[in-house]
Symmetry: C2
Subunit: 252 residues, 2 copies
């Protein structure tokens, strides 16, 4: 039986590497990337150029869209090119090529400005004695984006919703927590929002395996962190996702 073909944008990044290790044995992977990626078919192009990226989508069953300008310091012009225009181009190229599902790498930054207020602030700052009880934010909580980066990810989710409604495309958005190169928490905030490399790769695979009838949804992705304020029950229920790691393990 043929293995499903999955195009990964931004495969050269940290999450791209984790996804490649997770999926490599079970999927026929290809890359859409600015830099060359060795060992898989790689279409090199800038996602801000729709005509240049279109050939990469031919014959693809699903797309994992990770390519993005990241971080709170990215200037507007860069976010506009990579995240706003680039994400539109990825959805549009997917639609034109008849791709069945796009897994969109959204971000916890769509809601992390809630950390300006209690109790989320205390959770993010590691002042646990001030936390008290808290209710997790769910995928249905109104967005509160941190920075223009977070705004650009709200845009991507809204685009995904539109494409899922108006076209024959399933779109699953994963609001990724903080994935680190050392694959462990790095700062106090990570005890709330960290996501291990294998947990992010596993939820992305769970999105690829979800039934075709799932047209659109949004999931938080963090490890099983004691101090998290981001709901995982929805991903558990819909995707059967259970995180394997927990930031607390690394607390000394």
């Amino acid at each position: 039986m043929d293995r499903p073909t999955v195009l990964v944008t931004g495969m050269s990044g940290l999450i791209g590497g984790a996804v490649r290790r997770q999926l490599g044995a079970r999927y026929e992977l290809s890359a859409l990337n600015r830099r060359a990626v060795d060992g898989v078919p790689c279409h090199r192009a800038d996602i801000a150029d729709l005509a240049a990226i279109e050939p990469a989508f031919k014959g693809v069953d699903a797309v994992v869209h990770l390519a993005a300008s990241v971080g709170s310091s990215a200037p507007f012009d860069e976010l506009l090119r990579a995240n706003v225009i680039g994400t539109y181009n990825v959805f549009e190229a997917s639609r034109r090529a008849g791709v069945r599902r796009v897994v969109y790498a959204s971000s916890g930054a769509t809601v992390s400005a809630y950390e300006r207020d209690m109790p989320y602030r205390a959770l993010a700052e590691g002042r646990y004695d001030e936390v008290g009880a808290w209710t997790p934010l769910t995928h249905e909580t109104p967005v509160r984006p941190a920075g223009l980066y977070g705004v650009s990810k709200v845009w991507g989710e809204a685009l995904g919703r539109h494409y899922a409604d108006a076209h024959d495309l399933s779109v699953l958005c994963v609001r990724i927590g903080h994935v680190t190169a050392e694959d462990r928490p790095r700062a106090p905030r990570d005890f709330s929002v960290w996501c291990s490399q294998r947990d992010i790769a596993r939820i992305i695979e769970a999105c690829l395996r979800a039934p075709a009838t799932l047209r659109f949804d949004v999931f938080f992705a963090v490890s099983n962190n004691r101090w998290s304020y981001r709901d995982l029950d929805h991903a558990r229920r819909v995707l059967g996702f259970e995180p394997q790691d927990a930031a607390e393990t690394y607390r000394t």
Copy 2:
């Protein structure tokens, strides 16, 4: 006592004209517009050009941002220029100039893809015998944008949320219903989503008058329509807004 200064973008449009009639006596109005607007100070520039629009914001207390590319048929490049880049430029110019409040003309199109499903579809199509009971969508209901236009308005609201959080700017978003040139319902859907010219102008004035402590909020704006699915209680409670017109009056 000095009258507050209000800069209106897109004053030459239908809603711009209604706002001008409503506010003219109580506010010092100026216009930022591509076409010339007679009778008020008018800064002519394209909102896609940040440097070109900046001078219009000097000394302004509040901005009413109406300028946009509208309608379901607008091509992506036009929405990108006017609504995505243009709205960023308006918030950024407001921040730089020390404007205190931006009233952002969002749209019911941020949620109107709910009309794909019952009971909203029956309400929008005028098939009232099929409606049954329904719960209005509120400003906290997850967005479901209709078309790329709706997506661009979700972007604008997310930008507003970010600017209100990160900068000293109050942002009030008004999700405007269908305002018509003839100022009455035109199609079956209008018995649900119509907003009269005076009702839209009055809620915009209510936003300008709201206490400075109101940092960010989102309001639906429709007339008092019997078949509406968009909540008005939030605007009633927070702004004291009460629509004066009702689509039903025009049903024959």
